[in-house]
Every structure is written in structure tokens, then in C-alpha cells.
Amino acid sequence: MIGVADRDVVIGSVEIAGIDPALAVTLRSVVETAPGQRVGEAPLAADLRRLWKLGVVADAHVEVAGEHVAFVVSPRPRVGTVVVAHADPAASRRFRLLEGAPFEPARITRIAAATELGYIRDGHLDAEVRVASAPRAGAVDVCVVAVPGPRLTIEAVRFPGRSRVSEATLLGALHGAKGGVNTVGGVYDADALATDEPFLISEYFERGMINADIGDPRLVRHGAKLILEIPVTEGPVFSIGTVSIPAAPGFEHGLVRGELFARSRLADLRDRLQQLAGDAFVTPQTFIDLEQRRVDITYQIEWRWPWDALRSWSWPSR
């Protein structure tokens, strides 16, 4: 970009060249190179990146002539004709609106990706949106071909490995049934299903299966129908072991040793303690005994000095 010999040159003036004057003023505002600075490759490269990031230039380079630094930029060509094949009317309109706009390959690729994602989320799991471009005098023609493929709907949702939790319970933990997503008769949405994994796990935690695991979903295709399999490893059922609250040993916590471990009961107790403890930190700590399949729980209460510490004197157990 610049020679080693240029590095001791103190910049006298900076210019944006090769582009509309009004735009040049805006581009100048993002360039940090200024008169009085020494010419340096790294700052100039950073400025080129800033110019590039605005999305309006097709090419940019720096020319240093004595004390004068010029960022020479080329405007993007315009999008000429846009031909769209096989896309739905809404997607076609979006691409055709690009006619006359600056040709920005990365943005067109993103619009294609967004369109493809729209198809996939509508059940066209094999959808592809391909873009090609061809320059002609002063413009670039764009051709978009959408291949949505068949719309696949879910015939059944299965949970291989499930035995202790009902299928209806697990189906109830999946969101999107009303919107026709990840449900029988609806479409498969991998991202939505991934965000539902904690809800599925939660159903197992509620029933003592604290080592339960949800595997990667599998799709079995039968023509335009899908069987969605969500593998489950349930693991053993754990019970409650000892429950201690060192800060309030006499507190009536209501959890009984030997009872089924249920996440919500632990959370309830934490909430009750938190209510009493005000701003103090209430943290349940669990100690898992894999052999005995038992969970010992200690609720730590960390008082905030000095105000909340005074509360400890008024606790029910003291």
C-alpha cells in the first residue's frame, strides 16, 4: 500500500477521491487519518476497512503523494435487470426492488440466505436460493433461482428412550404447536427445537432424573412426511438427601429426605428463603451421590454487609 520510505512523512492533507462530492464528505467523516499524523500502514488500513464497512464502495486504495494522502474509491455499479425464477411473489418482489440499487454482492447473498431460511422455516427443508450475476455496461444483471423443493410436514414426533415421562408431557414442553411448528401436521424448525431443549430437560428434572439428556433430533423422511425423533437418555431417578440451611438451621423447609427430587420444590424453597433474606444471595448447592441416587442440598445465604446482616438476627430460627 505504501512504501517504508513514506513512514516518516507527516500528513499535510487528506482527500477522498473518485466519488460524488456529497458522498466524499460523509466518507471523510469515518476516516480517522488527519493532517499532522505520521503516515502509517496500520491506521490507513483501518481507515480502508471503515470505508469498506459502509457498503458503498466497490474498491478503495490509498495513494500517498508527498504530504497528501488520497483515499481513492470506486462507486459500486448499479444492479441492472433482476430475473427471479420460481420464487414466491413476496420473495420475487424483494429481489426485484434491487433494480437500480448499488450492486453489493454480500448483501444480495444475505437476502438470498434470508429467503432460503424463510422457505426452510416454512417446511421446505431442501430449499435453495441461488444467485448469479453478470456485468454489462455500467450495471450488473442479477439472476435469482429459487428451488423451494417439497414442503415437508411432520407425521409423528417420537422420543426414543422415553419411558418415565409421558409423551404428552414432552410434547407440551415444545413451543410452536399453535403456530404449526415442531408438532404433528406442522413443520420442522431446528432452531426453535434447539431452544426447547431446556424445557424438555426441565420435565425430567421435575421427576428426579437429574442426569437426563436430550440428544440431537433426527428426521426420518417418507416422501413429503417426516418423523421427528428426539432421543432421550433418562438415567436413574434421584431422591432428596439431606437438606441444610446453615444460616437458619431451624427453618421449616418442608423437604423430606427420601422424597423424589423435584426441581420446582427446590426452587420454591429458594424463593421462600429469598423473600426472608431480602437482598442477600441465596444459593442452593447440590451434592450428588451417584451410588445412593441421592441429592444433598445446602442453601447458602450470603448476607450483604452491613444492612442485610442485621436481618439474620430476626430470622425465624433464631
Binding site: I19, D20, A22, L23, T26, L27, S29, V30, K53, L54, G55, V56, P75, R76, R78, A90, A91, R93, R94, L97, L98, G100, A101, P102, R107, R110, I111, A113, A114, L117, G118, H175, G176, K178, G179, G180, V181, N182, D189, D191, A192, A194, T195, D196
Partner: protein, 372 residues
């Protein structure tokens, strides 16, 4: 684009199975059964929700007609043959947004920032661009699914939303050029709007690109479309009656009375300690125990506001032109006070109306334009 429309979609979607009367108005022809879920019908319902529950159309027929006229000129340039609605809303917020179907909203607070018809066309053109590009349709469909999204998916969605904003700006430039306007008005409109924003930060959660990027992109495209007119004179003539800031005719306290001049209703007030006035609402703190809330609402949604009366809360609903004045009193003996207030409802007096002088737009006043 405003996000308020997103808040109402759930209401609109659940309304699909209702009878063909929605919020006091008959549904458009063909909006029954499954067809009620179509873009056109949902768009109508969302518009109905917005103008009855969230916003009030700005009460100036001349300005409304002018905005409609400019909007339709821009739409014609796009070649779209659908019927479009352009609404001016009585809000001081600098905001414009598009509904699900072919309805575009612009607040009077946004109009007050503009200085030419071409700039108004730029605002409307941007929102028309969102509609033509189908940008909002996808958001509504996604909301209707009621599913969670990973952070990666949200990040992609945000990037796509920024591309939508870029496209809407580009469409504004291209439509203004086709409609014969000076396309540099898009840049000036952006600069005027940007001047009301506190920062131009690179906020990853913001659906809009940075102002610098938007202005640069618009300038790059505008350089290819010289010519066109700004129509400053016509704009200043048509917009001259625009009220800026809060409009005291919406709601005001004059002496010992609350005056809702637009609705042609006034009501006697007890002595109070504090007052809060916003658009069509007056809230009063009478003392430590008694609070009064007076607000104009659409009769069609009155029941949504009125909870069953209790010992310390009383409601009275009084017709006020095409609207209704809801009197809510909270405190001991609320029922008696509410009844007394209802009995005092009358038309505003001339001397009261004379005191309500709204501030009109001063188009010669200097305007701040954001500079990168």
C-alpha cells in the same frame, strides 16, 4: 420502523375467529373464516387496534389529505395498484411506520421535522419500501409461531432486518426519482431524524444501520438520480396548520375545569395537588388518598378499561362526541365523587377555548441536521 405494531399482532391473530365486527367496526368484505388471517384482513385489524387503542388520528383534514396525496404519488411511481392508506397520528414522537398491509403511519412529530414535500415523500417512500419488500410480513409470521430463537438466529435476523432498512432507504430514493422529486431529500430527511437520536452507536441489537452508513448509501444512490423538485412552497402551504409539541386542545386544565376541546367536553375539577397531562389524558392527585384519571377513549373499547367497581374505585363513562370520556376515581367515597364529576360535564366555554392556543409549525425556524 416503529415496533408498536408488533405489540398488537397477538391481539389481531386471536381475533381471526371472531364475528365480522372488530373493535366496533365491521370487517372488510371477504374477511370471514380463514380469510380473516390474510395479510389484507390482518392489516385492517392491526390498523383498527392502533387507531382505537394506541394512537389517535391527527385531527386536521387538510394535512391528512395532503399526506394521502403525496403517499399515493409515491405509490403510483412504484406501479403498485393496491389501495393504500396514509394516516397522520396525533403523537409528538418522531416516528413513522408501516402496518402489515398497505397502511402507512406518520406521526405529526415527524412531520414537524420536515421542510419539503420531497422529504415527506421520502418518509412515506421508506415505509412503502418496507411494505413492497414484504419485510413486515415475515416478522408477523414469525411472531405468530410463538417459538424461541437461538442467539445465533437472532443475530442473523438482526442483520437481515438491517438489510431491510437499507432496502427501504433505497426504495425511497428510487421512488422519489420516478415520482419527479429531488432524491437528495431522502438524505436530508435522514439527517433531520438522526438529529433527534442521542447516538450513532454500533448497537448490535438495533435493527437500523448506523446513520453514517444510511446517509452514505443514500448519497451514493442519489448521485445517480439528479434533478427533481423539492416542492418546499407547496409543503409549507399545506402543512402550515400543523401543531408542534403537545396540543392543549386534546386535554388541558383551565381554571377549575378539565377541557377536552377536540371532543367538545369539559368537566369541573375538585381542588388538586398535582396534575399530569398527556394527549387525551388528565391525571390528578387530589390528596394523598384520592386520585382522578380522565381520559378520552373509543366507545368500542370502553369495557376493556372498566373493571368492576370496588369500594374505593369508581368509573363513569360519558359520551363525548365520537368518543367517550372515562372518569376513574380512586379513594374513599370514590363513587360519590365520580357521580358529582359526571354531573358537572358540560360543553367548554368560549373563554376556556380561547385560552387553548396550540403552537403551530414555524417553517422558517432553523432545523438541526445531523452531521457525521
Amino acid at each position: 420502523m416503529g415496533r408498536v405494531a408488533l405489540l398488537v399482532v397477538a391481539l389481531a391473530l386471536t381475533a381471526c375467529s371472531r364475528p365480522p365486527v372488530f373493535l366496533g367496526a365491521r370487517m372488510p368484505a371477504g374477511c370471514t373464516g380463514e380469510a380473516a388471517g390474510s395479510e389484507r384482513c390482518l392489516g385492517w385489524m392491526i390498523d383498527r387496534i392502533l387507531i382505537t387503542m394506541s394512537f389517535r388520528p391527527y385531527d386536521d383534514a387538510r394535512i391528512a389529505a395532503y399526506v394521502e396525496q403525496v403517499g399515493n404519488r409515491v405509490v403510483r411511481a412504484s406501479g403498485d395498484r393496491r389501495t393504500w392508506t396514509f394516516r397522520v397520528l396525533d403523537s409528538t414522537e418522531v416516528q413513522a411506520f408501516a402496518g402489515l398491509s398497505t397502511t402507512v403511519y406518520v406521526n405529526r412529530g415527524a412531520l414537524a421535522l420536515l421542510r419539503s414535500e420531497a422529504e415527506l415523500a421520502a418518509v412515506l417512500g421508506h415505509e412503502i419500501g418496507h411494505v413492497l419488500g414484504g419485510h413486515l410480513k415475515e416478522n408477523f409470521e414469525e411472531l405468530g409461531k410463538d417459538v424461541g430463537r437461538s442467539r445465533l438466529a437472532e443475530s442473523h435476523a438482526n442483520r437481515y432486518a438491517r438489510d431491510d432498512e437499507i432496502q427501504a432507504d433505497e426504495v425511497a430514493v428510487l421512488l422519489l426519482a420516478k415520482a419527479g422529486y429531488d432524491v437528495r431529500a431522502v438524505e436530508r430527511m435522514l439527517r433531520a431524524f438522526a438529529a433527534t437520536s442521542p447516538t450513532d452507536g454500533d448497537d448490535a441489537a438495533d435493527h437500523h444501520p448506523r446513520w453514517t452508513e444510511r446517509v452514505a448509501r443514500v448519497q451514493a444512490l442519489a448521485a445517480l438520480h439528479p434533478g427533481g423538485t423539492l416542492e418546499e412552497q407547496r409543503f409549507s402551504t399545506q402543512i402550515a396548520s400543523l401543531v408542534v409539541g403537545e396540543d392543549p386542545r386534546g386535554a388541558a386544565v383551565v381554571g377549575a375545569a378539565a377541557v377536552f376541546a377536540h371532543a367538545r367536553v369539559a368537566i369541573a375539577l375538585p381542588a388538586f395537588q398535582q396534575k399530569f397531562i398527556e394527549q387525551r389524558t388528565i391525571a390528578l392527585k387530589v390528596d394523598d388518598r384520592v386520585v382522578i384519571d380522565l381520559r378520552l377513549i373509543e366507545p368500542a373499547i370502553a369495557q376493556r378499561f372498566v373493571a368492576p367497581p370496588s369500594r374505593d374505585t369508581a368509573y363513569e363513562l360519558v359520551p363525548a362526541g365520537r368518543q367517550a370520556l372515562l372518569i376513574t376515581v380512586k379513594g374513599p367515597d370514590a363513587m360519590n365523587l365520580a357521580r358529582q364529576m359526571r354531573a358537572s360535564v358540560r360543553r367548554p366555554r368560549d373563554e376556556e377555548l380561547a385560552q387553548l392556543r396550540p403552537t403551530r409549525i414555524d417553517l422558517d425556524a432553523p432545523r438541526i441536521l445531523w452531521l457525521p
